[in-house]
Symmetry: D2
Subunit: 301 residues, 4 copies
């Protein structure tokens, strides 16, 4: 089928390319000319404006948004909706907060535009291996887009599915990322303990490789960890600074709102916050308190 | 080669069977007659005593212990060592604490018996898929046992390795299990949040299946989780009671001893303790304290 | 001075009584006739409606809200504001979310009514011991209300203060309560460990009493804990069920929003959630997962 | 009564002084001549060796150990016991691990020397305010030492008590310190959140002072925190480096051994470990993992 891809950054460009390989017609839009040139070089077409993009597609259209969550997504939707016709579909493949998705879907519905939320996992590996797609929205709309999902997924019959009504796709992706935080932190802690056990002189890359085959902890994240450990076992030059892109925070908020304790996911998020504060006021105050009651020496900064 | 397998329980019986399939000669010992009959039915031999077992093997012998960690392992070694000759090898494939391993290896060394510790992961699936083996001990001894490891592992060239001197194998397995606690807890929390989000009516098995293909959180534990969710999505009849077999505790103790914070692994352990206390004194005291300062009503038990 | 007290529940009635003892004129409003009768019996006056209340006070008026945070507070303010004159002051002494406070203060300002937020700590003991008051709002308005604060506080010169602009009072109270969660949980855990150490046969009340004098952990919460342990050391008849009234959740959300890790306050909240779920889906799934990979028996419910 | 004080460091010197003020005869021993001179200047006596010390006291003697826990305590006891007579008493007032105490008490019992363990809280403030004393050991021995405890405690009838047999005193002190970790961390987190809420411009010292009077979170630790915040509200020159002296670790180990989840105390310990690692391997590995799967940029160190 044919599809407009809005946003040709790392993720959008790869997804467009996978769709092109799958025989779809893809027209891409991105404000950046190099990004537009790239999609053309892969056999796609490019539009220099949303208006041009919409004009190049036949109704009922499918427009896939792959832009940063938040304001940019909102702005894009505000520009896009007036250009669309009833029966067109917008798919938000980004990491939008599901509350925003519910609001946007309502707005689109007023124009009888289908709004489909598609949580997309797979990162930079999705081009080659396919993406895991958690889809929310109207069942008929999702069905109409089936050829796109079947191509983006690792295989036509797996790695994708409609998981519920509007918002459900982004909700599931949010929880997916929350789990990811916990998994990553568990591995990182384990390897850190091993590295500090100097007397055994462990080769962390070797251990990761052994665990990749037959062990209970084998996983794709472990495959990647093994790769990272092979390249740079001592993590030289890498700052102990871990970013977070929002979905972990939302997972924590959602868990608490539902009265569900999620201590490991929560703690994994807090560790990321902690990683970015190398001058903790709390720790300084603790040192000062110990000095107050016990006369314990304070380390000077 | 030939090998004596001491302990023909769930794990030992499967490992013996995998070795037999691989063309090795395996003589098994177990106090239980049915267990002995079983190995014979799979083409192995059985001994009714350690003495008989040792007599059936030619020096230099390889004796693989697959008995519960702790006292039983100690008692077995005390009975076994006097029967052995210099140059024989004992492999402890169980989940022994590495401190015990260091002590036992020293004792065996006094008789010039090689003591090899082999952390073994794979559970009930190891028979079919092979075991992930983390091996500690003398390099020459490990080399001599290579045919056994190559058969037990998923493939001759992967999923096993000598990771260091005596104790290193059990140490690595301990950390492996600590990581496992964290991974399991992260998945459990995520699925629990999804289950409590009633408005989306998620099908947890479907989600697990989607994630198994292409997603960042795909793993073998997720495969198993999908299987469990397929069989019993509401977890009917299962008590919220999570056992722990010791390695999580040791991991926590070891992390603290090394001054390495491992909050997620630690918290995963504490959640297991919590799961087994349905009448928490701490929680009752908290309710009483709230009543004291704020006059907040206490729920009666 | 004179003051209208809106809400004569446990907290409002006590505060009215403390103000009456301090020589102030207090007119109370509450929909409940018994609550109105009670304030009259303590030397105050009562109004049967907000309109009557406002009519009984001379401008510039001071109206103290002591009603449940959330909707009831909002509804009361919507009814009250139209009855007020420029220069009147409304004080919200409840546990309102500071975001609500900011919004309400803006609305009041449109009528030139001062809106003062007063975080109030002390619980049922405040009547006798005075309340700790964290006040946000316009400095001149707070100054005009000084006689009220000086009477409600433990002493005229301590235990109260203007801590910042609108919202700052409720913000400080929110954090106060977050800290309270952490303190309570720390004591509860400590006493729980002691209780489980059966071989020493500790008398927990005796220990709490010893610690009340001279120890580093002495506190008012420990005084109350000692009292609770004296009455009911085994916590008989008390369910292990700990409520939370919202401020802990807000503290956790605020900490994350500020990128400040607050693991102990956060964990204390999660323990309260956990106390109220005696059939944890996460724990059941963990038990099922252990069964899947290791064949470990599952406890039946 | 008369007492030998072994160890005239910060704690021992203060305790000796408090006993002297209370009218007791105190003979102090310390290898450091200045420490010996100090006790003489306060009206006590000094001995230059354990032998001399024992010779200056009449049987049945009371010897109070106030030396660092661990090896120094063991060495002192080994030197001391041969010098003592049946009926003498040794009191260990330090932060010994209760397992060590049980072993030492058994050894002393072989000579019919009473071994009393006294958990001592109060820090540098104990001289003026008295110490909180948790005492384990033989009831008759504790009774014989009553005059000493009555003087060291804040008052003769409170702040001290025999809490159980040998080991119980040090056990209670261990838990006391575990609670202390949790309390301190809760305050530190709360003040840290307040400090980061720049828009309200909180004066943390002012808030601590307000809370000291009438609030639910008032405590002695808060008094000290207020003092620290008054002196140095921005914690200038203080490194975010929090030491731990062992009792928190033991509390965590003990809680786990008893199957009692103590997440807040545990987390408070882990935060201290974290405070001392400003180049976390786990965090670097997390950053590398994010780069692997998502192509997320890594911050360079």
């Amino acid at each position: 089928m044919e599809l407009g891809m809005i946003g040709l950054g790392r993720m959008g460009a790869n997804m467009a390319q996978r769709l092109l390989r799958g025989g779809h017609r893809v027209v891409g839009f991105d404000p950046d000319a190099d990004a537009r040139a790239a999609i053309v070089s892969h056999g796609g077409e490019a539009a220099a404006s949303l208006q041009e993009l919409v004009g190049l597609l036949a109704a009922p259209r499918a427009l896939w948004l792959m832009v940063p969550a938040g304001e940019i997504t909102d702005r894009t939707i505000q520009s896009l909706l007036p250009l669309l016709d009833a029966g067109d579909a917008v798919i938000d493949g980004g990491n939008s907060n599901y509350h925003d998705t519910l609001r946007r879907a309502q707005q689109a519905a007023q124009q009888r535009v289908d709004y489909v939320d598609c949580g997309t996992s797979g990162g930079v590996w999705g081009l080659a291996e396919g993406y895991s797609l958690m889809i929310g929205g109207d069942a008929a709309a999702v069905e109409r887009l089936r050829p796109v999902f079947e191509t983006l997924a690792p295989a036509a019959d797996r790695g994708w599915g409609r998981v519920g009504p509007s918002g459900a796709g982004h909700y599931a992706k949010m929880i997916h990322n929350g789990i990811e935080y916990g998994l990553m932190q568990a591995y990182a802690e384990g390897f850190s303990i091993l590295r500090h056990k100097a007397e055994f002189g462990f080769d962390l890359h070797q251990l990761a490789e052994i665990w990749r085959h037959g062990s209970v902890v084998r996983s794709w994240l472990l495959d990647l960890t093994a790769d990272a450990l092979a390249k740079n076992p001592s993590m030289d030059g890498i700052a102990p600074h871990v970013a977070d892109s929002g979905e972990g925070r939302w997972t924590v908020a959602e868990a608490i709102a539902l009265d569900v304790p999620a201590p490991v996911i929560t703690q994994a998020l807090l560790e990321r916050l902690r990683s970015r504060d190398d001058d903790s006021y709390a720790d300084k105050l603790l040192a000062a308190m110990r000095n107050e009651f016990g006369g314990h020496a304070v380390k000077r900064s």
